[in-house]
Amino acid sequence: MDLILFLIFAAIALVCAVNVVVQTHPISSAVSLIGVMGSLAILYLLLGAEFIAAAQVIVYAGAIMVLFVFVIMLLNAGKETVKGRSFMSQLLGVPVLIALLGLLGFLARHMYQPEVMVHFGGFQGGTAKAIGKALFTTYLLPFEVTSILILIAIVGAVVLARKEID
């Protein structure tokens, strides 16, 4: 059951991720990216991270992607025009990418022996209670620094995007 769930949503995530890269219109890429994020949320649930799964749907698929779609529509972004790419990049791009992927997969396969098997409910420490407890004790300083980061991001976004008044 867990295997079927994983295979279905991993396939959806991969297909949507390929679609993000190959689509020429930005709005198609954005919708595909929402598909990736939604299926990753299911995989997080499978791994026992229920708080992060909820945050993934709310923050990523909700807030961030709405911001993206909003900007795409605001700028009226059309299909991208491709000018000449260099011969070397056309020749080497895909093989190098497959080599990188193969190397990463090989490392993931052989670095962790014996292998841990994932089943639903095998890790119960990802609840909101556990996360909140760790966030306000062990990780209190990073959490507070994060609030300053967000304040800076708000100010930066307002300064960058405002209209020149004078």
Binding site: A10, A17, M117, G156
Partner: protein, 102 residues
Amino acid sequence: MSQVPISWFLMLSAALFSLGVAGFLFRRNIITVFMSIELMLNAVNLSFIAFAYQHKQVDGNLFAFFVMVVAAAEAAVGLAIILTVFKNRKTLNIDEVDSMKN
């Protein structure tokens, strides 16, 4: 066999990250390049959560949480920069934004 090896999650994460790198290098639309960065961040999050499962510790989830927060801040500032670039240059093609090249 209904259980999933943890390395499959790591391989999925590697595949998503590679696709993000490909999109980042291959695409010419500045918004799509930015979306590829989000795809890479998501791939890294999946790795963090898989490692949290493997070690049965909550710390991996917290790292994913912080990545998410930083990604949200980055998206706000990055899209503001894209708006400013478009306002000044009237283009979204990163090949045409090259005034620092000379």
